[in-house]
């Protein structure tokens, strides 16, 4: 007797938990043949707000965690993802990718996590400075994470854009609320299951599914989101986002990139969600008096 497959409920990921949308709404993305992919949560403004609360609570701990530890956790995500390769590949194929493209996307996502894992304890060294001021002060500048960052993930890819965005942001110590590709949301949900088993503290990465058209304005106007990363090429969406961002001087980064390109990774993606902090302290006695110096 043929065994009936057990289907997965695709839920969202907020504060380390897997709720359904509070709104009870859903949408039903379909594959090219019209078959139902899944009933996926159509997230509401309130889901976003709850994610921001979770991300804000997680920010202090994540941003002050040692860089080495963050690095290991990112690497752990890659490890967990590697173990689930076939599941991601299956989902990508369901969503319309060819087998070879699906394999390429999953490999790239895993490798990208490893890449950014390596940057966690290095980008500060590359982009910091000790500043030789013209007075007897010790003065240095270091990058610090911007804070709670929204990510409107690439629509074209299911995994590559999302993972590239999240990895760069959390490597830099930010906490993230990502909105998955609307038409290809399956891998994003599975990715959140990977995160949940990778020692990532709850709230550091939150993943929502739903309508970009509906949620974009709330990402733009929320007063406790410090920055939004926009992966896409719609001038209309981008100007709406930028305009709303002025309410709290939100930082907007936009990338119209092919995230499947192996070259689309570098520490400047991390630096786009960093602030530079400069610290001063007096030096009691600067100069070279005496032979002991």
């Amino acid at each position: 007797m043929a065994r009936l497959e057990v289907l997965k409920t695709y839920k969202i990921f907020i504060g380390g938990k897997f709720p359904r949308t509070e709104s009870g709404r859903y949408y039903s993305p379909r594959d090219k043949k019209g078959n139902l992919l899944a009933n996926v949560c159509l997230c509401s403004r309130k889901d976003l707000r709850e994610s921001v609360v979770a991300a804000r609570s997680a920010f202090g701990g994540w941003s002050t965690r040692s860089a080495f530890n963050r690095s290991q956790i990112l690497y752990r995500i890659a490890e967990m993802m590697e173990g689930r390769r076939t599941q991601f590949i299956d989902e990508l194929i369901k969503q319309g990718a060819t087998a070879s493209a699906a394999k390429k996307e999953v490999d790239l996502a895993v490798d990208r996590l490893v890449y950014y894992s390596g940057w966690c304890d290095k980008f500060q060294q590359v982009f910091s400075s000790v500043n030789p001021v013209n007075s007897s002060h010790f003065n240095f500048s270091v990058p610090e994470p911007t804070g709670v960052v929204g990510l409107l993930a690439d629509e074209k890819t299911s995994l590559a854009g999302l993972v590239s965005g999240i990895a760069a942001l959390v490597a830099g110590g930010n906490t993230v609320i990502a909105l998955a590709s609307e038409s290809k949301p399956l891998c994003a949900v599975t990715f959140s299951e990977v995160i949940a088993t990778s020692d990532v503290p709850g709230g550091v990465i939150n993943i929502l599914t739903g309508s970009k058209k509906e949620l974009l304005e709330h990402f733009g106007s929320h007063m406790d989101i410090n920055a939004v990363v926009y992966q896409g090429n719609s001038n209309e969406e981008l100007s709406q986002l930028r305009s709303l961002a002025s309410n709290n001087v939100k930082r907007i980064s936009s990338y119209d990139k092919d995230w499947m390109d192996t070259a689309q990774q570098d520490p400047y993606f991390i630096m786009d969600a960093q602030e530079i902090k400069t610290t001063w302290h007096p030096i009691e006695n600067i100069g070279s008096e005496g032979s002991g110096y």
């Binding site: 002050t64 590359v126 400075s129 500043n131 030789p132 001021v133 013209n134 007075s135 002060h137 003065n139 500048s141 610090e144 911007t146 804070g147 410090n226 001038n235 100007s239 709406q240 930028r242 305009s243 961002a245 002025s246 309410n247 709290n248 001087v249 930082r251 570098d266 400047y268 602030e275 530079i276 902090k277 400069t278 610290t279 001063w280 302290h281 007096p282």
Partner: protein, 485 residues
């Protein structure tokens, strides 16, 4: 000190020590500096620039309208081609030349800055002007070394930068804006604040004397409408703005639908935190410098003082004693500590906040000062019994007004200090190194001074977190806003 009488107020008598105003040559009228020449504004309108310490008119300043701004942007665009193609080391040499010529004429600039803006001559002479020159000197050297600032990248200039600067450090802000822009190969249209245009116009004269090619820097004077025309001009590739958070938000919104890049250096409400293990007398000096420097017209002013409960009484007593001896008055007097408020409008804003402070239940202290009859003045002011919800603890006053609160633990003061939409600067006073690093890493602010305050340097990046803006000015990180890859 024997032989000197101590007045009842606690002030030692000093004889006046006025700086001579004669070195500051000010023309009766200034046009707009466009394409290397001073020209009359299209509509022929001029407005007066006055000395806020005497209310006497210093000069008439051209009011640029959209047509004038258009002319300036076109001149900058035309100049961009040859300026950006000029060899980088030659670009740098122009900047070195500018730096040197500012140094040669430093006293003249200092006098005009003080006459036009009301800041004490001691500050314009020892801080504003030397730092402005140093800024040009620093970025001059970057012009032919930009590749070293951005690993694995080839930086290119952006194009024409529209720059809008405030009235609190007129020449210094012009230098902060112009020097990195030119070093990276951009050209500039700069709008000074309407109450303090003079040193920017003198700087324009100096650019001509330096042989800077026409159109590389253009200066359009005027008020908000001139600034708006610049922000909205289609030929601008980048906006750099220093000013209030309100105007910064308007600018961010105005350019939302464009590809213009932006740097915003906006308001602040800095926490200055003093722990019981600090060296109290040094800290009191630092607090005074933090809030009363430049009449408190400083976006990074330490306007919220947090005092650990155990030393509250001592710190307040010493602060009151110290501000009694601050000399408020003629900015041209070399002994003056606190000069004139920059404008009547700003004085009214400050007075509104002082009134609100009293109405909301905080306790005010102002030393008695013999303030001049004419001009705009506000004595150094402090409020005790302040709570987080008071307006004077939340909003930027931009005047010599300090709001004092207390705290018990590190965790409490970090939470209180960060509980603001601003994030420009902060100060920490303690003798314990590990505590300093705990605080300086947890305070969400772009500049943190530990056991010092209000220090600035061309090599030191400056700029805000959160609603205090984005982008950095100064240092290696100050180049990024003026390049693209």
């Amino acid at each position: 000190m024997a032989g000197k009488e101590k007045k009842e107020s606690g002030l030692w008598e000093y004889s006046p020590a006025p700086e001579s105003a004669s070195i500051g040559k000010i023309a009766p009228k200034y046009g707009l500096f466009i394409d290397g020449k001073f020209i009359a504004p299209a509509k022929g309108r001029y407005f007066p620039s006055i000395n806020p310490a005497t209310e006497a008119k210093l000069s008439m300043i051209a009011e640029a309208d959209a047509a004038d701004v258009d002319k300036a942007v076109k001149a900058a665009r035309k100049a961009f081609g040859s300026w950006s193609r000029l060899s980088a080391s030659e670009r740098g040499k122009y900047l070195y030349r500018i730096a040197r010529m500012i140094q040669e004429r430093a006293r003249e600039f200092a006098v005009i800055e003080t006459l036009d803006g009301g800041k004490p001559i001691r500050e314009s002479r020892d801080i504003d002007i030397p730092l402005a020159a140093a800024h040009f000197f620093y970025y001059a050297g970057w012009a032919d070394k930009l590749e070293y600032a951005f690993p694995n990248r080839k930086p290119k200039p952006i194009g024409v930068a529209g720059q809008i600067i405030p009235w609190n450090f007129p020449l210094l802000m012009a230098a902060w804006k112009i020097a990195p822009a030119l070093a990276a190969g951009n050209t500039v249209v700069l709008k000074p604040a309407e109450t303090t245009s003079l040193t920017a116009l003198k700087l324009a004269e100096l650019f001509s004397d330096c042989g800077l090619p026409p159109g590389v820097v253009n200066i359009v004077t005027g008020a908000g409408a001139t600034g708006a025309a610049l922000v909205n001009h289609k030929g601008i590739d980048k906006i750099a703005f220093t000013g209030s958070t309100d105007v910064g938000k308007i600018i961010q919104k105005a350019i939302a639908g464009t590809t213009k890049k932006s740097t915003l250096e906006l308001g602040g409400k800095a926490a200055n935190i003093i722990f019981e293990d600090a060296t109290i007398d040094q800290a009191v000096e630092g607090i005074v410098n933090g809030i009363y420097f430049n009449q408190g017209h400083v976006c990074c002013a330490g306007s919220r003082l947090f005092v650990q409960e155990s030393i509250h009484e001592e710190v307040v007593r010493k602060l009151k004693h110290r501000i009694k001896s601050l000399r408020v008055g003629d900015p041209m007097d070399k002994n003056t500590d606190v000069g004139a408020i920059n404008s009547k409008a700003q004085l009214e804003t400050i007075q509104k906040y002082v009134r609100l402070g009293k109405e909301e239940g905080a306790e005010i202290f102002q030393p008695s000062c013999n303030l001049p009859d004419k001009g705009f003045w506000c004595p150094p002011t402090l409020f005790t019994n302040v709570s987080q919800s008071h307006t004077i603890a939340r909003e930027e006053i931009f005047g010599p007004v300090l709001a004092i609160q207390t705290f018990r633990t590190e965790a409490e003061v970090i939470a209180k200090a960060n509980n603001t939409p601003f994030g420009l600067s902060a100060g920490v006073w303690t003798d314990k190194g590990s505590k300093i690093f705990n605080l300086t890493s947890k305070l969400r602010a772009g500049v943190v001074w530990a056991n010092t305050y209000n220090k600035f340097d061309p090599v030191s990046p400056f700029g805000g977190y959160k609603e205090s803006g984005f982008g950095r000015e100064g240092g290696l990180h100050g180049i990024l806003p003026y390049v693209q890859f």
